[in-house]
Point group: C2
Chain length 307, copies 2
């Protein structure tokens, strides 16, 4: 059982984590949450998205948030669904954008009213735009491990989708398990195959813990040699299809597992737990972090004194 | 990444799962829960324990429950903490008992007011008693992956503890992560080592999901070749030290992961979900099953119709 020595965590709470929360956070609140995570040592963030404010009201202040946060030593990423989003991101000084589309046509139609092929055409335009404007472009392929409408998504389809991105000036590609359908065997096999087929490309993973397999899937990803994972503080995120189901795999639970296995992250768990408690106050309800309830594995308890 | 083809689930909800629940279930209710699990295909159960009724009131009707359930084709196990418990189990016709002691002296003192060495002496007496009475004896070593009072428990200590059981007429040995301290690397390494050191002995695993790593630890156990796991319906169990923390690793979540990886269990997931809903009604609160909220990975959703 082999693992990488070091892993990079890309913190999603300010985008994927918050976007379904009913209580809208102000730019000031988001900045406080960001600072708390920054203090814990987190250096990569998906900070917001440039979608239509009516579709995702929680993201309406994303541009303002980007303007108010210093980018020094930080990877601050804005999600964009189309070229217009990329143009808006640039207006706010964003220099790293992540373009998301689905491997499933049905899911992609639901999300952005485009087929997968149409989204890839859009990506080519965004790629040109980013080259012209010296912006870094990364890509997330949603529903890479299954689609809630279509069901299984074959390895062949994912490989063919990635093939179409070859030649673009893109950074990492993230394979996303958008609605928590992946299992560890599938993760290991798909990642081994895409890494073999595209040895020059870096692949990251994005899991939701909808069916409790988030950490097991990360373990499988580590064994396939993956070193970058999207996670969200407090496991925030939810799922529009499964009421009560949890969201993104939880940052503090992931970091705790990695550290307990001797894998470095440069993040301080104690700092994450402070940020997670702060998050609960801001959103006004409990989050789904295990660590916030139980504390780390090496927490010792006093021996009860008998009477 | 290699796995066994088939795994045996030992259902703990009627013992470890219920023992911290405040609402006491009647023998009739426990029988209904048992039947529901039996219908789902579960064939191995830890059904109750023979401890002092004042210490664990939920277990006071364990003997009566054993008397009212037919043992045909079933492994029905009673937990015993000492010889007296084994004698009481026999009075109720129990023919399979599981003796639990801790690898940590401090934890064992808290549980049964004995050092580990004293418990092993007790085990030898129970072993003789079982041989005389043709009862099957299995053993669980608690705190095998860490102790909430002492901290780390070394591999050396576990190996030395197992060494002392050689020569007894015992069946499987279960290594238990009693308070959810194990990580996947540790699980893989310890299990590889004990299986190498005692190649004739079958080792099972018992995890709590206190820090969310239950399924990841099972994945590591599978990779080390383990084929028997204790789980509890609805993830029931809790932890006396960590209020709000979840309990045993959840049967339906484990079975769902195994099936999605192509590993057989002879258990029907749909039946487990029915039993899990029934359990919530009986205990009067939500359990911590992911599957009960989200449904299986292959559940398809209708495509929303736009206006």
């Amino acid at each position: 059982m082999e693992f990488p020595e070091k892993v990079t965590i890309n913190e999603m709470v300010l985008r994927d984590g918050l976007q379904l929360e009913k209580k809208l956070l102000s730019v000031e609140e988001k900045k406080i949450l960001f600072s708390s995570l920054q203090e814990a040592g987190v250096k990569s963030f998906e900070l917001g998205s440039f979608v239509h404010p009516k579709l995702v009201p929680q993201m309406a202040n994303s541009g303002e948030l980007f303007e108010k946060i210093a980018r020094e030593d930080m990877d601050l990423i804005g999600l964009v669904p189309n070229l217009k989003g990329a143009e808006r991101a640039k207006e706010f000084g964003v220099d790293r954008i992540n373009f998301v589309f689905s491997a499933s046509d049905t899911h992609n139609m639901q999300n952005v009213q485009k087929t997968t092929a149409e989204s890839i055409e859009e990506l080519k335009k965004i790629n040109e735009f980013c080259e012209r404007n010296e912006m870094v472009l990364t890509v997330t392929i949603a529903t890479s491990f299954g689609c809630p409408f279509e069901g299984d998504i074959s390895k062949k389809r994912i490989l063919a989708t990635i093939e179409q991105l070859v030649g673009l000036t893109i950074g990492d590609i993230t394979l996303a398990d958008t609605t928590g359908m992946a299992n560890p065997k599938q993760v290991y096999e798909l990642l081994k195959e895409v890494k073999n087929s595209f040895p020059e490309q870096t692949f990251n993973l994005h899991f939701h813990n909808t069916r409790g397999m988030g950490l097991a899937n990360i373990l499988a990803g580590l064994q396939a040699g993956v070193t970058g994972f999207d996670t969200a503080l407090g496991g925030l995120g939810g799922c529009p299809f499964a009421p009560g189901a949890t969201g993104n795999v939880c940052t503090e639970d992931v970091v705790h597992m990695l550290h307990s296995m001797g894998i470095q992250t440069d993040i301080r768990l104690e700092g994450l737990l402070k940020a997670s408690a702060l998050l609960e106050n801001m959103i006004g309800h409990q989050n789904s972090s295990y660590l916030l309830k139980a504390g780390p594995y090496n927490r010792k308890y006093p021996v009860p004194v008998s009477n």
